[in-house]
Amino acid sequence: MTVIPEHEFKERLDKLGFKQPRRFLINSPDDYRGAFPAVLKVSSDAITHKTEIGAVVGDIRTKGDFEDALKTMRSKFPNETIYAEEMARKGIEAIVGLIRDEQFGKLLLFGVGGFYSELIRDVTFKRVPMDRYDAEDALAELSFGRLFYGYRGLKANRELLIDLLLKISDFSVKNEFSQVDFNPIFLYENDYIIIDAKLVV
């Protein structure tokens, strides 16, 4: 099992037309040409849960802070690739995953994303490839899905999400993987953005 370096996977996703924050490979502070606030990340093929160990620094608001954060990160991870992204505004957090299961074959996971996803467990698994009805059904199946009809002022765009699920289903057919995480995906009223993506082959 191999973890594909994150920035490489993200570049592939760019080419396939998945929406992600603008990203820059960072050797010196001047390599960052995006807007603030920014996020600095270590792109490793070994580290997967990294908020705990300082491999991600978010909410960097000035160029000065960026330089300081980069210096600290570089000293902790002298040999790793570092990249930076524009920090996206918060949206409704969803998770979409892909997994190859011994019994059921390729499965797509969809559910509540972010910090609480493993607590709430409002998720469903569908076999891929799936069609538009399956994607609609994934939304209909979950309590979370009610957000797409509007819930207490929160609203996500249902059609865009269905298209995204179908796009990920299509990805699952054309690519080899043992697991993929798109987590979190921020959903907005008229858009979505994939904040983090990981591929294990």
Binding site: I99, D101, F104, L107, F125, A138
Partner: protein, 459 residues
């Protein structure tokens, strides 16, 4: 040989019939004798007759062919009997006794031999360890529970297949008491030949089966099973109660998807892709199957709730909204019409409360008006016989409405012996009725899931 023969058995040969009260061979014989429309043939090495039926000394001394062999003998002897029945050209064999694969290596070898017999001869085997096959339309009943202590169903729309024979018979006893009827019941036992997938296919072809209920613990060929369900679900509703935890084979990794697969995997999503409605207990299993065979699929979330008891409407509304349904207010126009039909102290908005002054004719007028208005996707009517003006005569209207309305109806009831008696009459007439608020709402959810699934075929 084709499993469909099971629905047309003309002759049954029981090997291992017993005179002794309480013995399996005696219970099965009594159950068979009770209603079977074809010929019953007994095989016994010494007895001349049992329960008034002449016995043959051996299988090969039976002078004519038999359709179905029921073998009530312990494992080694059962194998011999199955072999002889197969030689005789018997179409289907049901070995009743256990003592096979579930009891270790020796038993597994016996099963292997039995499977070879089936493969070679074409005789289909249901079991071994099959506690009962019931096909009410031909009066076939091989159950090993006594008719003195449990009820068996009469002919109806639900095809019921169970990997736990006992749970199946228990559930059927209970639902038969409510007047729910079945096209067939098959306990699969150890499944050396006929399995759940083949039963789904047979029930898909069977014209009398309108919905399929399956209690499953293990699904041997998941791809084939899902394919069979997907095909059958174009025509008939399928409900599955899956017992035992569903393990997925994947090793965990550090990604979230893998860890959610480990902690939260459920078949529900995959089932829904293939038209299978998942039940979470044995009551839902049969309730949903009954709903799917007696009511129309529900095509939207807007429900009109009609009752003669304010509280019932309120609780129903709470449960409905919790499950994602919408109990919208009636339009002014519709509310105005309803207001003129019901008691002045009633409420014409939704939930519609006709109060204790409700009568059959009020129910009929209000329900018809809702149907005509086109404002709702389904009607949930609580018909409460404690209400003075509500009487059994309402059954005729409910039956007619259920068959001819454009909006589907589900009926809820609450009550004791008197109401239960009417409940049975309603189910016998094919009215989708359920004996509590939450079971009625559950049935509506199943019908909604069915309606959503059917959209796939309606492009």
């Amino acid at each position: 040989m084709n499993l469909d023969e099971l629905f047309n058995v003309n002759s049954v040969c029981l090997v291992g019939a017993s005179r002794e009260e309480g013995k399996v061979g005696n219970v099965v014989l009594k159950n068979l004798k009770k209603n079977f429309k074809g010929e019953i043939i007994l095989v016994h090495p010494v007895a001349d007759e049992i329960e008034g039926i002449r016995c043959h000394k051996s299988i090969d001394s039976i002078p004519h062919p038999v359709d179905l062999g029921v073998v009530s003998l312990p494992s080694v002897k059962a194998l011999e009997a199955v072999s002889e029945l197969a030689e005789k050209g018997c179409k289907i064999c049901i070995p009743v006794a256990g003592g096979f694969g579930e009891q270790g290596e020796e038993g597994k070898k016996l099963e292997e031999k039995m499977r070879e017999i089936s493969d070679r001869s074409g005789t289909r085997i249901i079991g071994p360890n099959c506690v009962g096959v019931i096909i009410p339309r031909i009066g076939l009943n091989t159950a090993l529970t006594s008719g003195d202590k449990s009820e068996f169903p009469s002919d109806g729309p639900i095809g019921f297949v169970s990997q736990s024979g006992a749970l199946g018979l228990l559930a059927m006893d209970e639902f038969t008491d409510s007047g729910i009827r079945f096209s067939s019941f098959v306990s699969l036992g150890n499944e050396i030949d006929v399995d759940e997938t083949e039963m789904v296919r047979a029930l898909e072809r069977d014209g009398q089966t309108k919905s399929i209920a399956l209690y499953l613990e293990k699904i041997s060929e998941i791809d084939e099973f899902l394919k069979a369900c997907r095909s059958a679900s174009e025509k008939k509703g399928i409900v599955v109660l899956k017992g035992g935890q569903t393990e997925s084979g994947n090793r965990a990794t550090s990604l979230h998807t893998g860890s959610l697969l480990k902690t939260s995997f459920s078949l529900r999503g995959i089932f829904r892709q293939n038209g299978i409605i998942q039940a979470s207990n044995e009551i839902e299993l049969i309730d949903f199957a009954w709903a799917l065979s007696s009511a129309k699929p529900v095509r939207g979330r807007k429900v009109a709730v009609v009752s003669s008891a304010g509280g019932v409407g309120v609780i129903a509304t709470d449960i409905l909204e919790m499950q994602g349904f919408k109990v919208n207010r009636t339009s002014d126009q519709l509310a105005g019409k309803i207001k003129s039909m019901i008691s002045q102290i009633g409420s014409p908005f939704n939930p519609i409360d006709m109060t204790a002054e409700a009568t059959n004719i009020q129910y009929e007028n209000v329900i018809r008006e809702i149907d005509k208005s086109g404002e709702f996707d389904s009607i949930l009517a609580f018909v409460l016989f404690q209400t003075f003006g509500v009487t059994e005569d309402i059954i005729d209207f409910l039956d007619r409405f259920n068959r001819t309305s454009s909006v589907p109806i589900v009926v809820g009831m609450i009550g004791g012996q008197y109401s239960r008696e009417i409940f049975r009459k309603m189910t016998q007439r094919g009215i989708p009725v359920f004996p509590s608020i939450h079971r009625a709402v559950g049935a509506l959810s199943a019908l909604y899931e069915r309606g959503e699934f059917l959209r796939r075929f309606e492009r």
